[in-house]
């Protein structure tokens, strides 16, 4: 009986697994192989051992991109997570216009990244863009700058746009988590002022733990896969000051036709993400054993 059921399980899994192996796992392994070769996508790959990796760690652009990814990750773990949590707490009651507010806040999520890049490009436009003209109007002239051309701020300018898109997602995940907490607990915590803060910290936050874990996983993945925004707003420029690993990989593999080199970046990127996700996976394993 038991083995019969196992057979059924494998039978059901065959279709999905075959497809997944063909389109995702196989090509990924192939990429790992390519990372050990010199390959332009046209001639056949030529095996060169670990040369790509060796070169990678000497490439200043790779280092910049890696550091940028880490900056991105740190900003993403703080700003959208906190903002999303606050918004979720505020909107988790029967306030007027509640549904519309929610829809407005997560609406950036549904726009295609190209459109978002376009919109934020105009906000940051140095002459007459929304940000600079607003700053001049309120007398903060000295803050105006070319947000996407100044190598010191460009990365954060892009992160801000990415935050704009990500906050809605985080908010929804937290809202979903809050739904599992009885409303009375929340109300009590919100109204009581100082002791409410304590309640939030000691009661609500722990109860939100499952949602928080998902938020962190999603946020980490998003930070490392950061690509669309960078690609559509600056392509990593000026001179790579806003480059991130996924974009660097894309440019090397597709623009510069260095598939092997791009592949080696992909391998590093995957390992990095895996390292960050592993603590989450450990938890899964632990749960499974229980």
């Amino acid at each position: 009986m038991k083995s019969n059921r196992n057979k059924t399980a494998w039978f059901f899994l065959t279709g999905p697994l075959v497809l997944y192996l063909g389109w995702v796992i196989g090509p990924s392994l192939y990429t790992v192989y390519l990372s050990l070769t010199k390959y332009d996508g046209l001639s056949s790959p030529e095996f060169i051992g670990l040369k790509n990796f060796y070169r990678l760690f000497q490439d200043p652009v790779f280092i910049t991109s890696l550091v940028n990814n880490i900056k991105w990750l740190l900003s993403f773990l703080v700003i959208p997570v906190v903002l999303g949590l606050v918004l979720a707490l505020l909107l988790n009651n029967q306030i007027k216009g509640n549904k519309l507010f929610k829809a407005a806040i997560y609406s950036p999520m549904i726009l295609s990244p190209i459109v978002i890049g376009l919109l934020w490009g105009w906000i940051y436009e140095p002459a007459g863009g929304l940000l600079n003209s607003t700053l001049s109007v309120i007398g903060l002239n000295y803050l105006t700058r070319g947000w996407l051309s100044d190598p010191e701020v460009v990365l954060y300018a892009i992160i801000a746009a990415a935050v704009w898109r990500h906050v809605g997602y985080v908010m929804i995940l937290f809202l979903a988590g809050l739904k599992t907490i009885p409303l009375v607990v929340i109300e009590a915590a919100r109204v009581d002022g100082a002791s409410g803060w304590k309640k939030f910290w000691h009661i609500i936050l722990p109860m939100l733990r499952p949602a928080t874990v998902i938020v962190f996983v999603v946020t980490i993945i998003q930070s490392f896969r950061a690509f669309d925004m960078v690609n559509s707003m600056t392509e990593g420029g000026p001179f790579n000051s806003s480059n991130v690993l996924a974009n660097l990989m894309y440019i090397e593999a597709f623009k510069n036709y260095r598939m092997g080199y791009g592949g080696s970046i992909a391998v590093i990127l995957f390992l990095l993400m895996f390292a960050f996700i592993v603590f989450y996976l450990k938890q899964i394993m632990k749960n499974e054993v229980d």
């Binding site: 700058r145 420029g237 623009k255």
Partner: protein, 414 residues
């Protein structure tokens, strides 16, 4: 749910049925990077004229934006199902694919159409590899410094011919609160134009092309010279501020609204401005720096190729012949203002400004394509980043060039 499933199935059937129906004609698939409105319309008109002359052929044009086209082309060429005709650039970028055996040889088209007679000699060298033709040049345009006539008149300025005169013009404009030179370097190639021209004027075309082929190093003192001249403009603030934040097209705005006076740009700038501004635009040859260096200009040439695995090479050749003919050339140039490669076109078919451009090029000693067409794509990528870094931190130039040299040597020796 069931209903939507049904309608979906119907839709899919309709699409499949629709494409099956279209198969009754010979289909010629043309993939083009002409995504700009004007050239796109021009190609559409060409196709219409070709289809009228050949009613048995159905030409299907697909347009992919320029940057994407460059990436996708490699995929198309390596697929078993490539387009029949593709647009492409003359020079190294074409040779790269020709050397890999991915392009169909079209020497017969050149012979049958007698193109050696119809095209100026210069186009033969960019179309042939080992005495066989692979590339069909179609049109070209010139680069020069475009400027607002009204602003120059207002401050009593003349077209500068030398570097000193050019600096003088810039100074006068700046003193009067006009931005001397507008530029949008977000996509970097506008900065590459400055590098090209300064190098062509200081070191000459021969040196320039050797640099492009990796035979001279970037940290050569002669290359450094280029940046000392460039720096003169940067240090005096002659360029638009925050240039890296603008696309080239956003940079045009400052020219259009009269805040800026000059723009080093290709002829296509005329498509980008409103008609009344275009009427106020004129151009001059990039100023001479060293009079002993022969004059050279960037004249990027665009054309067509046939992938070797194309399904309909005969139709494709027919289309190429039409594009090279006087009739085909006229349709394209009258719409776009670009210059046709076919010398049977009388000069007076061009606008006065284009005529001036043609005459300027005729009085030029040597030609280059453009930075990212003359060198390897990956080197161009590194090079343009280096230019942008120099723009932001001119003091770092020695380090920047050393890095660039190292990177480009790695790529050239790969």
């Amino acid at each position: 749910m069931k209903k939507s499933f049904l309608s979906l199935t119907l839709l899919i059937l309709l699409v499949i049925g629709g494409s099956a129906f279209a198969e009754t004609k010979d289909v010629l698939v043309v993939n083009s990077y002409m995504s700009d409105p004007v050239p796109k319309e021009a190609l559409a008109e060409l196709v219409k004229a070709f289809e009228e002359a050949n009613p048995e052929i159905d030409v299907q044009v697909s347009t992919t934006a320029h940057e994407d086209f460059k990436k996708a082309l490699r995929i198309w060429l390596s697929s078993d199902n490539p387009p029949d005709v593709i647009t492409w650039f003359a020079g190294n970028r074409a040779k790269y694919f020709i050397d890999k055996g991915l392009i169909l040889e079209i020497t017969d088209v050149w012979q049958e159409e007698n193109l050696d007679e119809k095209f100026p000699r210069a186009f033969r060298s960019i179309s042939f590899v080992d005495d066989e033709a692979y590339f069909m040049p179609n049109n070209w345009y010139w680069w020069s410094v475009f400027y607002r006539k009204s602003i120059f008149e207002q401050y009593g300025l003349e077209e500068p011919a030398t570097w000193e005169e050019f600096l003088q013009v810039c100074q006068t404009l700046q003193d009067n609160g006009v931005i001397p030179i507008t530029i949008g370097t977000k996509f970097r190639w506008t900065a590459a134009a400055w590098f090209d021209y300064l190098n062509l004027r200081i070191n000459g075309q021969e040196f320039h092309l050797r640099l492009m082929e990796g035979k001279v190093s970037y940290n050569d003192p002669r290359v450094k010279q280029v940046f000392t001249y460039w720096r003169q403009l940067l240090d005096r603030g002659y360029f638009l501020e925050n240039a890296a934040a603008y696309s080239w097209q956003e940079g045009v705005r400052f020219l259009a609204n009269g805040e800026a006076a000059m723009y080093l740009m290709g002829q296509f700038i005329l498509d980008a401005v409103p008609a009344e501004v275009a009427a106020d635009l004129d151009f001059f040859r990039f100023p001479v720096i060293d009079p002993t260096v022969p004059l050279a200009e960037d004249t990027p040439t665009d054309g067509y190729m046939i992938p070797r695995k194309a399904k309909n090479p005969e139709l494709a050749k027919k289309f190429l012949k039409f594009l090279a003919s006087k009739e085909g050339q006229l349709i394209f140039i009258e719409k776009t203002g670009r210059i046709g490669v076919n010398n049977q076109i009388p000069l007076d078919r061009y606008t006065p400004l284009t005529q001036k451009g043609v005459k300027m090029i005729e009085a030029t000693d040597a030609l280059a394509q453009f930075y990212d067409r003359d060198t390897l794509p990956s080197v161009a990528d590194k090079g343009m980043n280096a230019f942008m870094e120099f723009w932001a931190y001119p003091d770092r130039i020695d380090l920047i060039l050393d890095n660039l040299e190292r990177e480009s040597q790695l790529i050239f020796t790969e």
